[in-house]
Each structure stands twice: as C-alpha cells, then as structure tokens.
C-alpha cells in the first residue's frame, strides 16, 4: 500500500470506517445480548426461588382448609394465590420465550457483525521460516502417544469412580414384606400372627398385681382413648387413640414404655358430618397393623394413615364415611405388601360393603371387591391353607374366602347371621366362624364356590360369644361370652368338653400361651386357665383398671391396654 496513492488511501479509509461501524454494531449487539441474557437469568431465578415458596404457602393453606373446610377466608386466599401463581407463571413463560427470541436475534447480529469485522481486518498469511521440523515431528509422535495413554488412564479413573457405587443384588432380600418367622416373633396385628391369639413365646408371666405394682414393669398413659389393641414390632409398640375431634397414632418404646412419638391424623370428613359413635366401640376401635417398616391405622371415619417407624406420615386416604350402626371397628390385616381393609357397612341390599387391598407403599388401591354382606365388626385373617393363602372374612350372612393377591372369591359358606363382631380363626385344618348367640361353625377350607352344604364339618350351639373371638391350640377351641361363660370344644368332632361361669364380663378375646389360656375381663382381671379337657384355673390377677382391648405378647412380656394406660407385665426382677 502506498500512502501517496489517493485512490488506495480513500479505499483504505472507507474500509476503516466500514470496519468501525460493523465493529460498533457487534459491540452494541453483544451488550444487548448480555442484558437480555441477564434478564432471562433473573427471570429464571425468580421462577426457581419464588414459585416454590408460593407453592409451599399454597399447600399450607390447603392443609389449613382441610382442617377448617368451611373457612371462606382461607378459601379466598387459596383462590387468589393460585390465580397469582398461574398469572405469574404465564407471564414468565412469555417473558422467557420473547427473551429467547431477542437473545437469538442479538447473538445472530453480534456474530454476523463480528465475522464481517474480522474479515475486514483479516491479515494476509505470512508464513515464518520453519525451524527444526524433524524435532517437531518426533515430539508430536511422542506426545500423541502420551495423550492417548492419558485418555486411557483418565477413563480408568472415571470407571473406578463409577464402579464403587453401591451395587444391588436382586437375589438378596427381594421381598418387601416380613418373613413368616419375623411375623411369628412379633405381634403385627389384632390378636397377633394370623389373628389366632396364640403367642409364639411361652415364657409369659402368670402372676401380677396392678394395685401393688407386682410384675408391672412399666405403665404409660395413652393420650387419647380407644379400644384398639397393641401392635408390636421389635422394640416398638403402636396404638391409636381418638375422640370426636382428634385422631392420633402413638409409638411407644417396648422396653422402657416411653412415648416415642405421637402423630395426628386429619380427616376428610367435615366437622358437622362426624357421627356420634358409641362409647363401647370408641373413636379408635380398629387395631393397627404393621409390615415391619411402616405402620397403618384406620379410624371409624374412614381415614387410613400410614407412618414409618420414625413417625413420618407416608400417606393418607379416606375411604368415605362408613355407614356402621355401632361405629366401624374392623381391624387391619396385611398380606405381603397389601393392606387389607374389610369395609363392611349398611345392609347387604345397600351393596356398600367392600374389601380394599391398598398398596402399603403408596396407599393406592391394588384391588377392590364388592361384598354381598351387611355391616360387620369382625377382622379378616390371612391363613396359609395348604400351599395357598386365603383371606377369610366373616359377615352376615356368610363366611367368604378370597385370594388375597387379587380378591378373587374362592369359597363361601352361609353359616353366620346378625351383628358379627367375633373374628374368624384358622386352627386344626378348620376355619371357625362365630354366629353371635347362635352357633360356632367349623368349615373345611379346601372347597370352591358355595360350600355351605358340603364343607361345614360341624356346628355347636349354646354359650356362643357376641364380641370376643375364639382361640384354639389346634386340639381344643375356647369361647368366652360377654356374660362370663367359658367353654371348651373338641376340634375333631365339635364335642363340648366343658363350660364354666367365671362370673366376669369379657370384651377382650382370649389368648393361648403355651399350655395356658389367658382371658382378660372388662374389670381388668386376668384369668389364666390350663388348656385341657377339664377346667382348671391357674391364676387370677388384678390390674385395677377396666380393659376392653385384647393383650399382645412378646418375649417374656404381656402388653395390656387399659382404659387409660398401656401396661407392660413381666418379670420385674
């Protein structure tokens, strides 16, 4: 370029001006893009930070509304907040979209201008003299090999980091539910494993006195009343209590009796719709159940709640207010990972009775079966009969067996009637069903379809209970009527071996521990008799408090829920 040539100078000057203009355009477009980008980031942060806070507030308001469903103020707040969240969401989305378009436009202008500016200022290639190409070649080859090896090493390091993550072997401990052995060693439901009332442990004390404290290891006050029985898993005891306004679940330390946690269970039923429930039934009659990891409770308003062992509420569900004459009192049962709820109500003609099988993890309904029965207060049992598990239910007018996996009916026998409270048991290859004040039926559970005429082995009448359930050691079956008459029947042929008026009143169901039968009377007296062909009383122990719940047994201990306290009875030495 010659400075003397005016034409070239002019061209160069024009090029310089053009370059400057385009360069400035690039700068402006770049600054514009940065500003738009910054605004988009601020918008994004608002979405990430502000929205969750509002959503949390909305959730809290919804919870408040659940407690006070008629509170118009909360309702209005929810509506306003919800509208605000939606409006903001839409406006932010629009902002993001328009911002993105502006950002793209800005970047396009910036890049185009920058490229043109760079082209205008591009220097012509001016190769420098090459020095020592040989050495460069050799160095390149060596370094290239090292870079490849480095890649291998780095990949290896990453692979090792990946490999140290915890591996899961599906063949180990694949079941979500406890084993039969674990269930037997605990007391996971009403009347223990299979609802039989038979204790796995035989080292249970036979002597205690609630008034003097003899044999009482501890007693702890239960905050709210309830007739449900204790449920035990390892070192924890679960109970629930309720009144018309409150429903609670409790976890106690089994060894020391300390109340570890208590949790409220909210109801979906509005205050005004909560029915009055008879005191004899209570607002917390159904006994809880556990699968060893979670604990489940149901209350007479149809509220089902699941907690983990630390007291964290996992899920809640309401099955609808049951139409139950005395108040819903059926306890829960577990089968594998299914929570079984026998939800009998109203009359058979109303068609409202159901059995629900809920997924223990989520509370979702896995299966639901309509039942041709009226309201009942019995608790279903899942019994292993042969190689098959059967879910046995009892309600007017029939005993029905289902497949607990899918709810398919297996057999039914029309042999019960009235307001049923005694639960069925399975013992000595028979299912025993009690028809209150009427008869005890022994049903062979290996049939299919209607087995009323074909599979009822025998029936026994007289001294039949209306509340407490039977108990059996596989040879004899024991019954305790509310009026205090005990009777013993031989399983093989239904022959009544003896009966005895013990001049007490029974609501709790009898239990068997080794060779003894434990009976807890409503006044708190425990009668222990020998399981034998003849009546022989071993002991009578006073608790000094009324008892309506059935006892639970653990290693060397009995747990009894009285009206106000939970007692632990055992060897105090």
């Amino acid at each position: 370029m010659s400075p003397e040539n005016p034409e070239i100078n002019e061209k160069s000057s024009n090029k310089q001006i053009l370059h400057q203009a385009i360069f400035n355009t690039a700068v402006v477009a770049g600054i514009f893009s940065i500003i738009v980008f910054g605004l988009l980031v601020v918008n994004y942060l608002q979405v990430r930070l502000l929205d969750p806070m509002r959503t949390e507030r909305l959730e809290n308001l919804k919870l408040q509304l659940a407690e006070k469903p008629t509170d118009e103020q909360i309702l209005t707040q929810i509506r306003q907040l919800d509208l605000q969240i939606r409006k903001d969401k839409i406006s932010r989305l629009n902002f993001s979209h328009q911002g993105a378009i502006l950002l793209v436009a800005g970047i396009i202008i910036f890049i185009s201008a920058a490229k043109i500016a760079a082209d205008l200022k591009r220097k012509l290639p001016m190769p420098q003299p090459a020095h020592d190409i040989q050495t460069k070649q050799v160095r390149h080859v060596t370094l290239a090999r090292w870079s490849i090896v480095s890649f291998l090493v780095l990949t290896g390091v990453f692979a090792v980091l990946f490999a140290v993550t915890k591996k899961i072997d599906f063949s180990q401990g694949s079941s979500s539910y406890p084993s039969e052995e674990q269930i037997n060693k605990n007391w996971p439901r009403f009347r223990g494993p299979q609802g039989s009332g038979v204790s796995f442990y035989t080292n249970i004390p036979t002597k205690w006195d609630g008034k003097t404290g003899k044999g009482i290891i501890w007693k702890t006050k239960v905050p709210l009343p309830g007739n449900n029985s204790p449920v035990i898993w390892d070192d924890k005891i679960f109970l629930c209590g309720a009144n018309k306004k409150q429903r609670q679940v409790y976890c106690f330390d089994r060894i020391k009796g300390r109340l570890i946690w208590q949790k409220d269970v909210t109801t979906a039923i509005p205050d005004g719709n909560i029915p009055d429930i008879e005191e004899a039934t209570s607002y917390a009659a159904p006994t809880m159940t556990t699968d060893g990891k979670r604990v489940f409770a149901i209350f007479p308003l149809g509220d089902v709640a699941c907690f983990d062992f630390k007291g964290k509420n996992i899920w809640n569900k309401n099955l609808g207010l049951p139409h139950s004459m005395y108040g819903y009192a059926t306890s829960l049962e577990m089968y594998q990972n299914l929570l079984i709820i026998q939800y009998d109500q109203a009359s058979a003609d109303d068609g409202k009775s159901r059995i629900f099988a809920l997924d223990a993890f989520s509370g979702n309904t896995v299966w639901e079966v309509k039942r041709p029965v009226g309201g009942s207060w019995t608790t279903p049992i899942v019994a292993k009969i042969g190689e098959q598990h059967q879910l046995i239910t009892c309600a007017d007018p029939c005993v029905i067996s289902y497949n607990p996996s899918n709810g398919a009916e297996i057999w039914r026998a029309e042999c019960v009637s009235g307001d049923l409270a005694p639960s069925p048991i399975y013992a000595g290859d028979f299912v025993f069903a009690v028809s209150p004040y009427n008869k005890l039926s022994a049903i062979k559970p290996d049939g299919a379809g209607d087995v009323t005429k074909s599979h009822i082995a025998w029936t026994v009448e007289g001294d039949i209970p209306d509340i407490s359930s039977p108990v059996s050691d596989g040879k004899y079956i024991y019954l305790a009527t509310t009026e205090g008459i005990l009777s013993c029947i031989q399983i093989s042929d239904g022959k009544k071996l003896w009966f005895k008026d013990v001049r007490e009143e029974f609501n709790a169901s009898p239990s068997i521990v080794g060779k003894y039968v434990y009976l807890i009377c409503t006044d708190g007296t425990a009668i222990i008799i020998e399981s034998a062909e003849e009546y022989r009383e071993i002991a009578r122990n006073e608790l000094g408090e009324e008892v309506f719940a059935s006892p639970a047994f653990a290693d060397g201990r009995i747990y009894i829920r009285s009206e106000e306290y939970l007692y632990c009875i055992g060897n105090t030495n």
Binding site: H97, A100, P127, A144, G156, F162
Partner: protein
C-alpha cells in the same frame, strides 16, 4: 373424451389430502375412568393436527438435495461463501425449523435398536438420514459436516477467533467420540436410552427451550467454539467417528489446491480444525529403530490394553445399567422394600398399583444388567482396540511431500481454498472467461 390430466390432477390432490390419515395419534389419550374426567374436545392443545408424514419425505428430499449441493460446492464450485450460505440454510431448516430432529447423528441409535429389538422397526426416513450422509461421504468426503449438519453449522457460525490446538492433543481428545459412540450403541441396543438425543447440546437452542443443564452445556460448547473450531464435531460426535472412516476411503475429496501444490505454505494456518497435513522432513535415522520398537511394543501390549479396557467396561456396566428405566425402577422398588429410601416416586407407585410381581421386575432387571455386563465388556474391547490402533497409527513414520487435507479430519468447510495462490489463479481465469 375427458383428458387424462383432468382425472390425474384431482386424484393427486386427493392423495395428498389423505396424508393426514397417516398422521394418526401414536399414543391414545387416557380415558380417566376413575375420575370421569372428559378430555375437552375443543382444547387447542388436543386439537393440534399431527405432523404430516409427507414432511418426513420432504426432509429426506431436502437432505439429499443439500448433500448434493454441498458436494458440488466443495468439489466443483470451491466457494466458501456458497458453502457458508448452504450451511446457514441447513442450520435454519434442520436446526431451527425442524428443531434438530430428525438428525443423522441420532439415527445411529434407531438403527442399533432396530437390530437388537424385535419390537422396533426403523422408519425408512430415519434409515435414509443414516445412510445418505455416509454414501455421500464415501464419494465426496465429509460434505455433510461442511454444510448440512445443523450441529456442525451452529458451531461453525460462532467460530470467531480460531485457535489451533496441538495435533497430539487432538489424538487423545478424539477418543471421547469413540467412547460416546460405544456408549450410545450400548444404551440403544439395551433399549435403555437414546443418549445422543438426550444429551444433544444444541437442540435446546434450536427449540428455544430445554433443560437448564443442557442449555449450560450447549452454551459452554458454543463459547469454546468461538476459539476452538467445532469442538463437538471433532471430539464428541459419534456419527463423526463413522464419517471419518468413510471419508478416508472417499472417491473424491476436497483439496486445498485445484492444481499442483507449490508448497508456498500460505495455507499452513488456514484450517481451524487442524485438518491440513504439512509436508514432512526426513525422519532421523535413529528414530526409525525407536519407531519399530514402539510399534512392536504396542502390538505386544495391545492384548493387555484391550484386557484392561474390558475390565473397565465390565466395572462400569452396573452403574450404566441404571440408565435403563426397568433397572432404575427395580432398584427403586428394592430400596423402598428394604427401607433404604423414604417415600415413593410416581413410577414405583404406578408399578405397585399394576400388581405385577416384584420378582418378575427383578428378573427383567437382572437380564438387562447382564446385557450391560456383556455390552460393557464389548465396549471396553472396542475402546481398547481403538486405543491400540491409534497408538500404532501415531508411531508410523509417514512421508508427505505436499500440503494435503487430512481426509478423515477435514470437514470440507472450504476455508483453505482462498489461501491457495493456485486457487486465486483459477478464479481469475474463470473471471476472465466469463468476462
């Protein structure tokens, strides 16, 4: 008598109209039995007309057209400007208009899945997207990368201040692409994930929306791309791995000079992608012996390298199997069942509600894990083999007299054309002829 065109034209028109019939909804909407919820029929969301199948064929036609044009522009026209213009068109069409899908890079996975899965049939259009660029590369070099691939285009556009990476570093970084290709094949063959699509760094830009992490990754690559030419294409693109091999064998290929190289060295720094091979000096005599020893040593330790890589592949297989939804669900269920996690997730709730036995799920998951174990070993074997080959390749002492394009690495962008004085001469002659 009615002229045949009066019948043919309406028939063609009607046939075109029937295209909407092909575009049926692939997934029927849920029926909401439990809640009695009815889908609003006039909702603008549900009333969106599905995309016509015809467009897929149009896409293939556009692909074939752009590939042909790109090949012409690279080999005959030798115009960087025209290549750049076509690249912008491809970026707009395949990128922003077609939202980056379907793309040839991702089609690898469709092909692999169709080979390994009995329940998947690869659509012809996807197959065309996989085959056409390969076929063109076999004849004309990587003209697909030059002006058709939207991912390449977006990186090429942002390249403002190119810095040349040392060639030796490229050798190591390029292995990432082989690993990515192997991983993509492994995940696709086990029907676990289409990772190329999932981790496409630029698709979020094409769609003007996407996951934040992918946007950050894409932005990082673009910022790097301002200085280092096409980082994704060179060091990550799995399709690029295949194209490289095809390009080595290509019948014709872009050349720096249209004539004989005069070794003026003007093109030496022209390529931002390090794809110009410079003439070599005679190798030092002592180095020949070293080179022979190195090659022999590599050949001997190759089985060890492959064995090590197989071990590494096997060791990562368990972690990688978690990408499979069945394995992930099974592990979640296992953790929930054993009280190792708190709460549930939507997938586990849905699974439990379905009533499928857990043992069945575990069995399926175990089968998939075994597939990953086998696949992980194969992947390790592949990487070990590639590493060995690359080591050998880097130990061979080659001789070059001219400045040549690196057939494998050259993306035929045409930047080097204008640096060649012979090219300037050719253009001048053309100008004169046209004048």
């Amino acid at each position: 008598m009615i002229s045949s065109r009066y019948i043919t034209i309406p028939i063609i028109f009607l046939l075109l109209c029937t295209q909407t019939l092909w575009a049926v909804e692939r997934f029927p909407p849920p029926d909401f039995v439990e809640t009695d919820h009815k889908l609003p029929s006039t909702d603008y969301i549900t009333d969106v007309t599905p995309r016509l199948v015809l467009y897929e064929y149009i896409d293939v036609a556009v692909l074939a057209g752009t590939l042909s044009l790109a090949s012409y522009l690279v080999l005959k026209n030798r115009s960087r400007r025209a290549i750049f213009a076509l690249m912008i068109f491809s970026l707009l069409y395949f990128g922003f208009w077609r939202k980056g899908c379907i793309c040839s890079i991702g089609s690898i996975q469709n092909l692999v899945l169709s080979v390994f899965s009995n329940s998947y049939v690869i659509p012809l259009t996807v197959l065309a997207f996989f085959i056409l660029p390969l076929a063109f590369t076999l004849f004309f070099g990587r003209t697909f990368c030059a002006a058709v691939c939207p991912l390449g285009a977006i990186q090429d556009v942002v390249l403002l201040r190119p810095l040349v990476l040392p060639k030796w570093l490229e050798s190591g970084l390029r292995l990432c692409a082989y690993l990515y290709l192997g991983a993509a094949v492994l995940f696709a063959s086990t029907d676990s994930a289409f990772i190329i699509c999932r981790y496409d760094p630029f698709v979020a830009f094409f769609r003007l929306t996407g996951r934040l992490n992918m946007m950050i990754l894409g932005a990082c690559l673009l910022v790097i791309g301002v200085f280092i030419g096409r980082p994704y294409c060179r060091f990550l693109c799995p399709y690029g791995v295949i194209l490289r091999q095809f390009s080595r064998l290509s019948r014709w290929h872009a050349t720096i000079t249209p004539d004989e190289c005069i070794k003026c060295r003007l093109c030496e720094d022209a390529c931002p992608f390090n794809a110009i091979n410079t003439p070599t000096a005679p190798w030092p005599a002592s180095n020949y012996r070293k080179s022979k020893i190195a090659i022999t040593s590599i050949l001997i330790i190759s089985p060890v390298i492959i064995f090590l890589a197989v071990l590494l592949g096997a060791s990562i297989s368990d972690s990688w199997s978690k990408m499979n939804p069945t394995v992930r669900l099974a592990e979640r269920i296992y953790l929930e069942n054993n009280g190792m996690v708190e709460g549930t997730i939507n997938e586990s709730v849905a699974f439990r509600s379905a009533g499928t036995p857990v043992s069945e799920l575990y069995q399926q998951a175990s089968i998939i894990k075994n597939q990953f174990k086998f696949g992980g070993r194969l992947l390790g074997c592949f990487i070990g083999f590639v590493i060995s080959l690359m080591l050998i390749n880097n130990s061979i002492q080659r001789r070059r007299e001219d400045y040549q394009t690196d057939r494998a690495g050259c993306v035929s962008c045409g930047r080097c054309f204008q640096f060649c004085p012979k090219e300037q001469e050719r253009l001048k002659k053309l100008k004169e002829q046209s004048a």
